[in-house]
């Protein structure tokens, strides 16, 4: 029977019949829940409002960099943004995902309610920063020109990024938001959360691996 735990400020969760498996190969582990009762979902914000001023500041700085043609700033946004985007995708898909699959239900819930809202702000901001600054950088450095030796590499990167965009915007981000809304319900469905989290982790890993192709391309461009 599910119980609302007022002291924890949260609600209980219908535990799934089996925990979500880790992306690595192997059968899912046995179902595990807290010994004292059903898992409890702590209070959380779907969109962390305290993060919005940081996002706004970064985007304003980005627009200023573009308007002012600040090459150093465009370089910073593109390198730092792209590096973080790739690093986070790979880390989440290949490290966090397998660890998450081995945590208890309560542990997973505690992690997801803190992690997923932040990802909702971080990833779109990093992607916007990286792509907008990258385009401007390419324009300034002459790489957009068809006669540039880097032109074909850039077109290859457009295709890779385009595929990643379809996966990330069509699968990863909707799954991110859906998990948070499910956790907000009076009786969250654990099996559904597990299915959506698997989708999130797997697509993060896939886009992370595609990001490696982007890193190779960018290394070629930088040294060409």
């Amino acid at each position: 029977m599910d119980v609302v735990d007022e002291s924890a400020g949260g609600v209980a969760v219908e535990a799934p019949t089996a925990p979500p498996p880790a992306p690595a190969s192997g059968p899912p582990g046995p179902a595990a829940g807290p010994p004292g009762g059903p898992p409890v979902v702590p209070e959380f914000e779907i969109v962390p409002l305290k993060g919005l001023p940081i996002v706004a500041a970064l985007l304003i700085f980005l627009v200023a960099s573009i308007a002012g043609n600040w090459l150093w700033a465009l370089d910073f946004f593109h390198v730092a943004g792209g590096g973080l985007w790739t690093g986070i995708d790979l880390f989440v898909g290949l490290v966090v995902g397998p660890i998450l699959g081995k945590l208890s239900i309560q542990g997973r819930i505690e992690f997801m309610t803190r992690f997923m809202p932040k990802m909702l702000l971080i990833m779109p901001t990093l992607v916007t920063m990286t792509l907008a600054s990258g385009w401007q950088l390419a324009r300034h450095l002459g790489n957009l020109s068809a006669s540039s030796p880097n032109h074909s590499w850039l077109v290859a990167s457009y295709i890779v990024v385009g595929i990643m965009a379809v996966i990330a915007l069509g699968i990863l981000e909707p799954a991110n938001v859906a998990v948070l809304f499910e956790l907000k319900k009076p009786r969250p469905n654990g099996e559904r959360i597990g299915r959506l989290m698997r989708r999130f982790i797997y697509t993060a890993g896939i886009t992370g691996l595609m990001q490696i192709a982007t890193l190779v391309i960018m290394s070629r461009v930088a040294t060409n």
């Binding site: 609302v4 385009w135 379809v166 809304f181 009076p186």
Partner: protein
């Protein structure tokens, strides 16, 4: 459930193909027939998707509108920034309008997919009303 998510992804993929085609020709002006066709196909798919979704019953429309509405605001900001970048780079005329059209479809399509994915998992009765929250 009808394939709203899949249609949304197809719409996004088509718009991106058109955008990549135009980007690959910069700074020259790309031939505009192919991207115009891509934009038209994407627009048709988007309208078809909206019609399909409007016929889903029961469906948590209040949740969909709330989630898609806020997502639309965020993606309009992103699309606006990209339009600013293109105009700053002196993109003009038909080329600019095509890019704006593609970005509008992008800005509507992504919130549609996010809102649909959230709303489809909400519990509603046959009248489309959500159940009352469980009393403490």
């Amino acid at each position: 459930m009808p394939p709203v998510g899949e249609l949304g992804m197809a719409t996004l993929a088509i718009v991106i193909v058109g955008g990549i085609f135009m980007a690959a020709h910069v700074p020259r002006t790309a031939p505009l027939v192919f991207p115009a066709v891509m934009l038209a196909v994407a627009a048709v798919l988007l309208v078809v998707n909206l019609v399909i979704m409007s016929r889903i019953k029961p469906f948590a429309w209040d949740v969909f509108l709330r989630v898609a509405g806020w997502a639309l605001l965020a993606y309009l900001v992103i699309a606006g920034m990209l339009i600013y970048v293109f105009t700053y780079d002196h993109t003009r005329g038909s080329e600019l309008w095509l890019l704006i059209g593609m970005l509008v479809i992008f800005a509507v399509d992504v919130p549609l997919m996010i809102g649909f994915t959230v709303a489809r998992y909400q519990d509603v009765d046959e009248a489309g009303a959500q159940p009352a929250p469980v009393a403490a």
